[in-house]
Symmetry: C2
Subunit: 459 residues, 2 copies
């Protein structure tokens, strides 16, 4: 059943928070801090209280030094009191997936291989967040090496269910108000799927928008930094803060980055029309998902057209080949050196990846721009593609983080994708995935915001 989510549509930028600061959106919190109606210390204290309350069951954090987080918050407050210029995330806490380097915290990737590993420097994206004034709250739980073997995190919407993975802790922490923002990474479906399962907003931006320097390398063709938030405005804000050209990341986009926050907050020139694509794995979706989508499509009426794009089956297959092969090339070195520190599940995946022939890999990489052409053409006629974010609601148990098959093809194509937490079944979230053209992240955010507000009856 389609459930209207009004969060994304909240327009009033209240500077005087009446509610628990941990429940503020990031842009509300940043505005309150900038206008001296809230201190970063109050905000971080509220978030820590929320963590202290929920963490024993949710287990979203791999590393959290409360004193260090509060010290950053107090330093941010001192800075603000001195009247210095404030970054767009000044004093706002962000959770960082534990495969992303932090110069002041360990980065263990949920693997014995990285036990006690302390990077010498921040990853580029973390450095960008700090430059925007963010408080780096701590490190969130990942599956083993951002692959399949789950961590201990539970879904805060229902503790009996998986939060998804591999960005399990980031999705869960944002979903239950431990932090307003978090960073994840996606190689197949590691950002969008957990967002779908936990009922939060997430953006996997255009490939190359956010630098990957200082982030665990799993697949240079696919690895993408993603962002979690509780509304579209916050997604735009944190992406503006994290995105920057980086000559050290060979795929980093060197073109100017328009301010996503401004585009996302603007009204579409015309009401959007979405292209609904079932995508090749539709037959594997759960019946409750199909029912929810039937209702959603009906509710959208003339604002959605169902489209068939048969070439997407090839994109799904190419993503699988590229990820397996590159994963084997990179993680295979770990397995060769310290096989006892790699889980059985990952070992099997790496063995399978090692069998992929170079010629099949090369062809799969080379298909990418060709297959994208059909998507790009479609997006000249439609505002965005609408497709499921996951095969259904989060599976029961935490031994399996679910299947990324609804996401891998979009990661492969390098297009921006957003999870909009619009649907639910039996109290469990089911996300709606919107997909845009490469480098058109702003328009995608704007259309996602329109969709959330439209279903909330606001537009």
């Amino acid at each position: 059943m389609a459930k209207a989510s009004a969060k994304g549509g909240s327009r009033g930028k209240s500077a005087a928070p009446a509610k628990n600061p941990a429940d503020l959106t990031a842009y509300e919190a940043a505005a309150a801090i900038a206008s001296r109606n809230l201190t970063s210390e109050e905000l971080v204290t509220a978030c820590i209280a929320r963590i202290d309350q929920l963490e024993p069951e949710v287990k979203a954090w791999a590393f959290l030094d409360r004193d260090h987080a509060l010290a950053q918050a107090r330093a941010a407050d001192d800075w603000a009191r001195e009247g210095k210029g404030l970054g767009i995330l000044h004093g706002v806490p962000v959770g960082i997936k534990d495969v992303i380097d932090t110069g002041d915290m360990p980065t263990e990737a949920n693997s014995a291989l990285f036990k006690d590993y302390r990077p010498r420097a921040d990853a580029s994206c973390v450095a960008s967040l700090r430059a925007a004034g963010a408080v780096i709250m701590g490190k969130t739980v990942t599956t083993e090496l951002a692959s399949s073997t789950p961590g201990a995190t539970r879904n805060p919407r229902n503790l009996a269910h998986t939060p998804g993975g591999s960005s399990s802790g980031s999705a869960a922490a944002v979903a239950c108000g431990m932090v307003p923002l978090a960073l994840g990474t996606q190689t197949a479906g590691s950002v969008i799927r957990p967002a779908s399962f936990c009922g939060v907003y997430a953006l996997k931006p255009t490939f190359g928008l956010v630098s990957r320097r200082g982030v665990l390398l799993q697949s240079h063709t696919l690895d993408t930094i993603g962002l979690y938030a509780r509304c579209i405005e916050d997604l735009a804000l944190v992406t503006d803060a994290a995105a920057a050209y980086d000559s050290q990341d060979p795929v980093s986009i060197s073109a100017a980055r328009p301010r996503l926050s401004e585009i996302a907050a603007s009204e579409p020139p015309l009401p959007p029309v979405f292209a609904f694509i079932r995508t090749p794995a539709w037959e594997q979706t759960s019946s409750v998902l199909r029912e929810a989508y039937t209702e959603l499509i009906a509710e959208l009426g003339g604002r959605v057209v169902e489209i068939d794009l048969p070439t997407l089956a090839q994109a799904t297959e190419c993503q699988r080949i590229v990820q397996s092969a590159e994963n084997a090339a990179y993680y295979g070195l770990f397995r060769e050196k310290k096989p006892e520190l790699v889980s059985d599940g990952l070992t099997e995946r790496l063995k399978s990846g090692a069998r992929i022939a170079a010629q099949d890999y090369i062809r799969a990489v080379n298909m990418r721009d060709m297959l994208y052409t059909a998507v790009e053409d479609l997006l000249t006629h439609y505002s965005a593609i609408l497709a499921p974010s996951s095969l259904g609601p989060p599976p029961k148990g935490i031994s399996n983080t679910g299947d990324p098959i609804m996401n891998g093809l979009w990661t492969y194509l390098g297009v921006p994708a957003i999870n909009v937490p619009l649907l639910e079944a039996d109290g469990l979230p089911i996300g709606v995935q919107l997909i845009g053209a490469r480098r058109d992240d702003g328009r995608l955010l704007r259309n996602a915001r329109w969709l959330a507000r439209h279903l909330a009856g606001e537009v």
Copy 2:
């Protein structure tokens, strides 16, 4: 025995040719045409006469339409007579390897797969040459698909010997004065080795300097357009004409291209010191090559230092893996569709390439910049690397174009390499290879010119 070659050192830019126009260097011919002391028609007529005289034995040409070449020459002369601005190669004929597209001539790649194939447009590098005023003389013989199976070309220095390959016709045509300039391609040693065997100058420029759009794709990581000429000044001139940024070639260097002709013609600020590297295949070189190099090193005295760079063995191996895998990915499609049109030799190579694992290929590609670092460091201390261009003089017979093992590592590293035709044994040429830092093609040309002039007693 070291043989001084004075060609590269010729300084007088005579505008009044007293000799057969076919024996002029390209810069002499261009200057004579620009000053109206020679017409392009006279030059092309002289080249055609040379071709008519030698082609029955040398067999350098895959396609030559004398009338079409003369028509281009007359059009160039008409243009000059009208007083219009002239490009740097105005009226000068260039031979084009038959794997490079020409919109007005077939491009058959010495393969039944491309029989009668007529491209719709010029390759970018051909279009650049035409923009510089060049007359596209015709298409030169390549081995089958620029791989190993030889064409019919013979070495003009001794018809009983191979000219090398795969750019067999381009090297041979320039060597015997059929054209002053020609284009080739190199994936392992297909430009430098034929130059060594035929006793001509050749430049394999920095990877990405000359666009590969419209050129048969064998290996996107390695394929490089190369240039043939009879002196260093001409190499600089034709490279200036052919090199241009091309957004359609993903590896095209977008930085500004300094005029190589100016740098090449300038004096080194200090006399160069060369780093002599035997490279990993030294043990396979012929005894006459080793004797010739011993003499050359002795003659250079303090201007050369022998250096050992053990990491080059890995570069040799990585090149082999990358070429085999990418070759299988691209040509494998030909073999799958029309196996009967692929030679047995190439079929075996493709089968072998198909067995390469993706993870080994990915690691081999990724080693490139790491292995280049050692070469780059060395080139901050030395003017250029000096190494053999081939294992020895051209082998006897034309059933085998020789081994590219002295070249593949440099192609892989993406560095510019020049063949300087300085040595000979038993009347057969042995080239000296000079290697420079990436994007430092101008300095490399200048040092190569210094070396040729130094051995000729001019500096």
